[in-house]
Symmetry: C2
């Protein structure tokens, strides 16, 4: 390890000593079913905010604020239902220190024993044979949120000064679209978040199950729909089959032109915008711990489009992809219905990467699809539109935050972390970067097999405890940069 180690052994030891307390703290958090998508459980989400406030108070946080976000916009069942508050807190306000803003979310995905959980999802279960904690939110994202509190507790116990000013921002609507968060971040950029030097988010996962990672890139997503309309109402295929132009025929034809079975996008010009792969970047994929077998395990099939690790990672992280998601308005039930659907809406999205310009991509998509539809010479009405877009994000893995996180990881795990990207998006990353004008670090705590949105969500205790050490170590290394 070629870096100057900081004397953090006492800190790391204290984390180990506090392990029982840390497990208890997480257990309390898991016991609150803060499911943001279930309006009936909204009071529990609010309870969870207050739980965090109490913890922050006990740890000596200053200027704790519960930011109310008002009434939840439709669609809702209860038109008066309030959004859960965002919890803000501060540890230290020393102008000689760097200031780090930590983001996490305290709401969780729905979970019920009947879905197939082996244990009650909101009663954290410690499997002592494997040293794994099971429960909804253990890895997504209560483990990391509580992890930051643990880091502060360890400092307090040691009477060790925090090396940075630490701000926390915990939201309660992440699993339901982060409603209200963008506005709050923009509003607080020059208020509560003034002087922030760096934002750290622990809301993603290792690529695999054995090697820690730091994440420096995310793909974006442009989501489109093709609308084809013919008859005034759904018709019977016995009476109208063969005598009218069917919207489904046109739609399926156009959709079939977008991507081939090898996953290659067929829209001309898209790949031209993709940043060329340099030899240097190509080399980055060599050492990353991953394999075709891990992909197959994750997909539950042997349907990989690539026969080697490097191609898989490149196509997940740095090449665009196009997925056909479905069709609205067509027959979608089981059995046999002899309908000619009158209006069908085909849905697809393109995952974007550097240096695809979103607006230019839209134009390529619209032009190509319009041309393909015109080729059909159909009398049906046609429209293609963008219904959602989110930019890709890519950071510099050699910047001070990533290097500090790398050193902390090496301290704790005795290995240089993999520098990874992800295929999906975490929109809040872009919001913080844009609104605060600072770099963002994605510093995951859990493993790739934690089952964040699935049944039997878990967090290995080693990840939890070593993760706390890494978060704390990161603060110290970052303070020296």
């Amino acid at each position: 390890m070629s870096y100057e180690k900081l004397p953090l052994d006492e800190f790391y030891k204290t984390i180990d000593e506090l392990k029982p307390q840390f497990i208890q703290r997480l257990k309390k958090a898991i016991a609150i079913p803060s499911v943001s998508s279930d309006e009936n459980l909204r009071p529990k989400v609010v309870d969870m905010a207050h739980f965090l406030v109490d913890e922050l108070k006990a740890l000596g946080a200053q200027d704790i604020q519960l930011k109310e976000l008002g009434v939840q916009p439709p669609p809702v069942s209860n038109p008066n239902i309030k959004l859960p508050p965002i919890v803000l807190g501060r540890f230290g306000n020393d102008s000689n220190k760097k200031t780090i803003l930590v983001y996490g979310h305290y709401d969780v995905q729905p979970a019920a024993k009947e879905d197939g959980w082996a244990t009650e999802p909101f009663e954290m279960y410690h499997d002592k044979s494997k040293d794994i904690l099971y429960g909804r939110g253990t890895t997504d994202d209560k483990g990391p949120v509580i992890g930051w509190l643990n880091v502060i507790e360890a400092h307090k116990k040691l009477n060790l000064e925090l090396p940075v000013n630490l701000l926390v921002c915990f939201e309660g609507m992440e699993e339901s679209g982060s409603l209200g968060l963008d506005e709050l971040v923009a509003k607080e950029a020059n208020e509560y978040f003034k002087n922030v030097d760096q934002v750290t988010i622990s809301d993603n996962y290792w690529l695999g199950t054995t090697k820690p990672v730091l994440t420096y890139g995310l793909r974006g997503c442009n989501y489109y729909q093709i609308i084809i309309e013919g008859p005034g109402a759904d018709l019977h295929s016995g009476i109208f089959g063969g005598i009218i132009a069917e919207p489904m025929t046109d739609l399926i034809n156009v959709m079939s032109k977008l991507v081939d079975s090898q996953g290659k996008i067929q829209i001309p010009g898209v790949y031209d915008m993709v940043a060329p792969l340099t030899k240097e970047e190509d080399g980055l994929y060599d050492d990353i711990a991953f394999s075709v077998e891990e992909l197959n395990a994750a997909s539950g099939s042997k349907t990989s489009l690539h026969n080697n690790k490097k191609d898989i990672l490149k196509h997940r992280w740095r090449f665009p992809s196009l997925s056909l998601h479905g069709i609205e308005g067509a027959f979608s039930g089981s059995g046999a219905k002899t309908v000619i659907p009158a209006r069908v809406v085909g849905k697809f999205s393109i995952r974007t990467v550097p240096n695809i310009e979103s607006g230019k991509l839209d134009q390529l998509v619209f032009d190509f699809i319009t041309k393909e539809f015109e080729k059909l010479q159909s009398p049906n009405k046609f429209k293609v539109e963008l219904i959602h877009d989110g930019n890709y994000w890519v950071s510099d893995p050699f910047n001070s935050a990533f290097q500090a996180a790398s050193k902390a990881t090496q301290d704790v795990w005795n290995v240089v972390p993999d520098f990874t990207r992800e295929g999906g998006s975490i929109p809040i990353t872009l919001t913080f970067e844009k609104e605060l004008g600072v770099d963002v670090l994605l510093l995951p705590m859990g493993r790739g097999d934690d089952g964040a949105h699935s049944i039997n969500e878990k967090l290995d205790i080693s990840n939890y405890i070593q993760g706390c050490k890494t978060l704390g170590g990161f603060l110290h290394y970052y303070s020296k940069t």
Copy 2:
């Protein structure tokens, strides 16, 4: 008119005289909401059977039987719910006379004022300005069923002997798959239905709104599904897009190969099985009352694939068609869901015509789709299967029943009826033909715009009254053949 007229003026006049009673009889029938698909209304369906029994008794029918069909098979809400009975009745048993079996159904489609009806669907409304009867079942199929009873009443009033032995078979599950009917017909073929010479069904409609028709052909329908399976569960397109073979990509590709936007089936060999169009047949389409405008009005659009009446009729009646109905398992909601569906099932059907052999068609379909899927070199699992088939039906419009019906029509409407076919299927037609080994005549009463399964279902009084005359006249002309 080049046929020998029978002296039926008194009979026709009597029908006119009984018009008020006939309207009352239909009104009583409409008032019983015999919706077969609504289990809660099942007692009303049974009431409707008893109403018919009472009417038959009053008219002097012999050997009236309520054939119980047992418990309705799943899926049902109430596992003990019984199927409505089939009503059988007989008028006359003279071995010197021909025997005609008349089929109709006494159940109806669901209807509720809230669906957009201008009047209460189960309170027959007589619009006197237009002389139209509105109500659920007026045209489908209570009008024709009551029509047969009216024919008998008119004979009774005139003390005129029925020229044939008349059997009636009225079922109560036609709108819900005719459950139990096939078995009953097979069972009674040599019992109640023994010695039947001819079956007449009045359960379809004129092609348009002005000219009476006799229907001598129906297309069949082979319904298929293509199943493509990849990953073990639905996946996130951010994480898996670009690295696994997506079932939707394969399915859309294969489905796009089946039919073009002009409605031409792309599966080799299908058209080779279609009976050649003779010059004689071609001529049959010349005089049929229909137009592109009528098609446009019916489809609520200007999406006709053909610019002239003859091509439209040929493609509706005597050429096959292929419709893509939808996809099961893909995203089908509104909005944007970034899912890679794990298992998708594409649904399509082919309308069949003479001389397509159903089994041979299946083989052509399976071979073609299998070959197209193999071209994709996809690692996904693939299956194509037939999920339902029903044969086409075509009769001889020059046989004695059609000619008799033509004469009766000319008596009543003063015009030679159009001999038409239909694009859809009426499976019971084939059942009677096969099980009893006799010809079937489709003798419609209502018009093409009656809205059989829609809101504001109606029957013009002229169709009702002239229709009764035609049914009765047909019996007389047929008895002379």
